[in-house]
């Protein structure tokens, strides 16, 4: 069972986490923060799988490239290696903080956004943006299928699909503009913009221990880094 995080805790953790990371200059401390606080938080909130996939697909290649670059073109000193490692760890920490704060279960998105003070137009835009990735992928898939059916693509390999990018762009944007026009007409007819402000948010029970740990950990992380920076 996953623990629910309160919207205010998300904001507080974001601010303290990022600010603490900004002051941090120790690789060990960053690694500890990620291993002891961030990773368990991702597990508790049920996002460990997504986080690991993200690390493997995005962060690991990026880290490998940075290390390789520093090894090839920079001085091969341990100080330089430490600096590159610090950058990688900071990117991992910052990203994980953003993931902890912004990966919101679908049933809590509306209530979280409302508690963050979003209403009316901003709320509609934010909710729409949360599903846009799926929308774009579906649309691109349809255009690619149509081009495949018409014989423009010989085989369905990754490289062949990549070569279709320039041809994909214009139909994609035309369809986006058309969809926006149709969607706006439909929203007006359904009076969605007026209704979204008065809709009731679903009741969510937030986990008190997890929220308390997040607040304490965030605050502790910030104070520890300020203290270390002050004394260095």
């Amino acid at each position: 069972m996953q623990a629910n995080i309160h919207p205010y805790t998300r904001i507080a953790f974001f601010i303290t986490g990022i600010a603490g990371g900004f002051f941090c200059t120790s690789n060990l401390l960053l690694l500890g923060f990620w291993l002891l606080i961030l990773l368990p938080l991702m597990m508790i909130t049920g996002n460990a799988g997504a986080h690991m996939r993200f690390l493997l697909v995005v962060v690991l290649p990026m880290a490998a490239m940075l290390l390789l670059l520093s090894w090839i073109v920079s001085e091969k000193s341990s100080e330089n290696f430490d600096q590159v490692l610090l950058t990688i760890l900071k990117v991992i920490a910052y990203t994980t903080i953003v993931q902890v704060v912004l990966i919101i279960p679908p049933e809590q998105v509306y209530s979280t956004f409302r508690k963050w003070g979003l209403k009316g137009d901003t709320l509609v835009t934010s909710l729409g943006s949360y599903i846009v990735w799926v929308d774009i992928v579906n649309r691109s898939g349809k255009i690619l299928t149509a081009r495949f059916a018409r014989g423009f693509i010989a085989e369905r390999t990754f490289i062949a699909k990549l070569k279709q990018m320039p041809h994909l762009l214009i139909p994609l944007i035309v369809s986006i503009i058309r969809t926006a026009t149709e969607r706006s007409e439909s929203w007006q007819q359904k009076q969605l913009l007026q209704r979204v402000g008065v809709m009731k948010a679903a009741e969510v029970s937030y986990s008190k221990p997890v929220n308390a740990v997040m607040l304490i950990a965030g605050m502790g992380w910030l104070l520890l880094n300020i203290f270390l920076k002050w004394n260095s």
Binding site: F22, F54, V58, V59, M62, A63, M65, L66, L69, S70, V73, S74, E75, Q83, V84, L86, T87, I88, K90, V91, I92, Y94, T95, V98, Q99, L102, I103, D121, V124, T125, S126, G128, S129, I131, V132, W133, D135, I136, S140, L162, M165, L169, I170, L172, I173, V174, I176, I177, R178, T179, A180, T181, R183, S184, E185, W187, Q188, L193
Partner: protein, 206 residues
């Protein structure tokens, strides 16, 4: 503003709904192209085409929202540091809007000029984030050039600024040209509904 444009309440409501429906989709343009460029490790970004298109179609506020929301989502999916460059996206939207009002996307030379000016602005806004928050290296293709410059004795701040401007000059010019190229190929009747931006000063809108 709507009064000045000669629009009544119904037009205003239509524009508002259209803006709200278009913004998430424009975010998708930023996301799709930006992700592809990052995966290919190209030394450019191309993650602001949606921002420029939205600013031209709906004004700078819509462009800024597209840019910032795009940065947040791209951070969660494929480019971790992107969220910290949200300020750059706001500047891009502002510039695209005012350049559009001047007719900066009307012809290829004007697009190139707009791109060059935008590159300078984007570098000035992005470089401090890259330098102070990430120590000069963010893991994209441009980091390669930054590290190289540092290895040949150029200072860290200068390396970040120099590699930034080199990449931005190509990147922003390409983005301005691509945005104009795309909007020129969109049928005029589809663009006609979008009245908040500066389409009529740059493209033939029926």
């Amino acid at each position: 503003m709507y009064f000045l444009l000669g629009m009544n309440h119904s037009d205003k409501q239509t524009q508002k709904t259209l803006t709200l429906a278009f913004i998430p989709l424009a975010v998708g343009i930023n996301l799709g192209i930006g992700a592809l460029v990052h995966v290919l490790k190209l030394p450019i970004y191309l993650d602001s085409i949606g921002t420029i298109i939205a600013a031209l179609m709906l004004g700078w506020r819509a462009g800024a929202i597209v840019g910032v929301v795009g940065c947040i989502l791209i951070s969660l999916t494929i480019i971790p540091p992107a969220v910290y460059y949200s300020g750059t996206q706001v500047c891009i939207a502002l510039f695209a809007h005012f350049a559009g009002r001047w007719g900066g996307f009307r012809s290829v030379p004007r697009c190139v000029l707009s791109g060059l000016l935008l590159a300078v602005i984007a570098t000035v806004v992005s470089a401090p984030v890259t330098y102070y928050l990430f120590g000069g290296i963010t893991g994209n293709g441009i980091s390669m050039f930054t590290i190289y410059l540092q290895s040949v004795g150029v200072g860290k701040a200068e390396s970040v600024l120099l590699s930034g401007i080199c990449a931005e000059l190509i990147d922003k010019t390409t983005q301005c040209l691509t945005a104009a190229f795309i909007l020129k190929r969109v049928p005029g009747f589809l663009l006609a509904a979008f009245q908040g931006g500066s389409l009529h000063k740059n493209f033939s809108v029926r």
